[in-house]
Amino acid sequence: MSGAGNAVALRSGAIARAAIYAVLIVFAVYYLLPLFVMLVNSVKPLDEIRSGNMLALPEVFTFTPWVQAWSEAQIGVEPTGLSPYFVNSLVMVVPAVLISTFLGALNGYVLTKWQFRGHRIIFGLMLFSCFIPFQIVLIPMARILGLLGIAGTTWGLVMVHVVYGLGFTTLFFRNYYDAFPSELVRAATIDGAGFFRIFQRILLPSSGPIIVVTVIWQFTNVWNDFLFGASFADFDSQPMTVALNNLVSSSTGVKEYNVHFAGAILAALPTLIVYIVSGRYFVRGLMAGAVKG
């Protein structure tokens, strides 16, 4: 990314540059503060949190809250910690992300390179689906999941997430493929290549950046979803967010803030890692497609 930096910078003196850095650092502090609060307090004993300063570094350092949140904390009647739910989430997220990304890529391909009458309307209808408030779908969706016999299963959840992810994944791929030279596709057709062959040989290999954007977007949304997870999961398929909610908003008892914070960080860890590891590709991918309206 560094190489792609804008060649035209504000012409500025040392003072202005210092000011720029100062502003950026102030914002960095603003963004980091809540994470810092969670991290610092997740390694303090409970007494120290109650009596002390939430911004202070721990006087006594302990990993117990993390161990508790992961494998010992009471979630319902079982002292299992968050670990089994972590697995539930993973088993749900991976297929949901892969399927919706794959379908989005195909849709984007059709909508840009194999246009037919009414393709704009269809795209418009699909895009509008990104914006419906999810609360309205709960009851009818439950009915349909029941009719399909997949209520309360991971597959039911996967289907729900695929359906409501399609709008965004199609948008991303459509905008990306829109900028892809149609001449290449045309040339390939003349050479006798078919629909899938062109997709596989010509478009997919250059789709890296937009796949990254789509996967990040979908992974984050599906992993962080609470509403669907809580409503459509069964006792053996509840995702991490539901378990975290059970941990954090337990209706009575002593609030173990340190365990809550450790749990919150654990729940956020996969998405954090995805963002940090692939963040640089994210901007590149957005550049390549998503923001080109």
Binding site: M1, A4, G5, N6, A7, V8, S12, I20, V23, L24, F27, A28, Y31, L33, P34, L35, M54, L55, L103, N107, V110, T112, K113, W114, Q115, F116, R120, G124, M126, F128, F131, I132, P133, Q135, I136, P140, V163, Y164, L166, G167, T189, F195, T220, F226, L227, L244, V248, F261, T271, L272, Y275, I276, G279, V283, R284, L286, M287, A290, V291, G293
Partner: protein, 294 residues
């Protein structure tokens, strides 16, 4: 321009490929919207019922003080959230685009809040803003006894704490969109303008920002729909309180549909929300899809 194809199967194949997705969306989005619209005219309470009662639910809805609060809050929250996120996002993107050392570190720092779920964000901010244990308490411990920051406890100010937390979560993402837009601008144009002696301010105002129009639009759409759908954050941060001061249409709809057993009223509020969303999104879709001729 669409491709012409000889083979008939080949001709149908694209539509066949697209159709499963389209059918899913048709049923699970538009079918459900119609269903919700129908429910809004029924006397549904705990579970859907199909006895029509006309516009009763809408009259009830607009007679509720609670609903006007929610709409008023959405106006405050929506406008502030969109404007502040855009300003911060654009500002940070421009600053970060000045060949900054350490961009690789700063970018993920700005971006990471988007990775967190609202439950996590809400819990952390609730703590931080609580005068008893959060910022105010810390300032007192550090000797600044007169420091006061208790917006989250204040009926008139609590909605602004939701803005603070929501801006924190999304502004980095907006920054990334603008940064991507900036990086996509052809350098030659900028160089030429610079040689012509345009000042930095003029350069940005006259050339760069107008060229970011697509990024502005994308940011607006993403932010507007997040604002209208805002639910989890409110629940985690204030749960609609103090009193009912931070109720938003999404929380209103949820509570009427699921906890108050007034599904009809909940459905009518959902219909109003859908109309609001449509009035923002459809003009955008229309302009976007019209002018693009490939």
């Amino acid at each position: 321009m669409p491709m012409r194809l000889r083979n008939q199967i080949q001709d149908l194949l694209p539509r066949l490929v697209l159709s499963p997705s389209f059918v899913l969306i048709l049923i699970f989005v538009y079918g459900f919207i119609v269903f919700t619209g129908y429910l809004s005219f029924t006397d549904s309470r705990m579970l859907p019922s199909f006895d029509l009662v006309g516009f009763t639910n809408y009259f009830k809805l607009f007679g509720l003080r609670h609903w006007s609060t929610a709409l008023g809050n959405l106006a405050i929250f929506g406008i502030l959230y969109i404007v502040i996120c855009t300003v911060i996002g654009l500002g940070l993107a421009i600053l970060l685009d000045q060949k900054i050392r350490g961009e690789g570190v700063l970018r993920p720092v700005f971006l990471y809040p988007m990775a967190l779920s609202f439950i996590v964000t809400g819990t952390a901010w609730k703590w931080f803003l609580d005068p008893g244990i959060g910022l105010e308490h810390v300032m007192h411990l550090w000797g600044w006894e007169s420091f006061e920051f208790r917006w989250i406890k204040d009926r008139d100010m609590a909605i602004y704490t939701i803005v603070i937390a929501a801006v924190w979560q999304s502004s980095g993402f907006v920054m990334a969109m603008f940064l991507a837009g900036l990086r996509g601008i052809d350098n030659e144009i900028l160089k030429a303008a610079q040689i012509d002696g345009a000042s930095a301010w003029r350069l940005y105002r006259r050339i760069v920002i107008p060229m970011l129009r697509p990024a502005f639009l994308s940011a607006f759409v993403v932010l507007a729909h997040l604002a209208i759908k805002a639910y989890d954050l409110v629940i985690a941060l204030t749960n609609g309180g103090p009193g009912r001061a931070t109720e938003l249409p999404a929380t209103f709809m949820y509570s009427y549909t699921f906890t108050r057993n007034q599904m009809g009223v909940g459905a009518s509020s959902a219909v109003i929300m859908l109309i609001m969303i449509a009035s923002i999104i459809i003009p955008y879709l229309y302009s976007e899809l019209r002018e693009k001729r490939t």
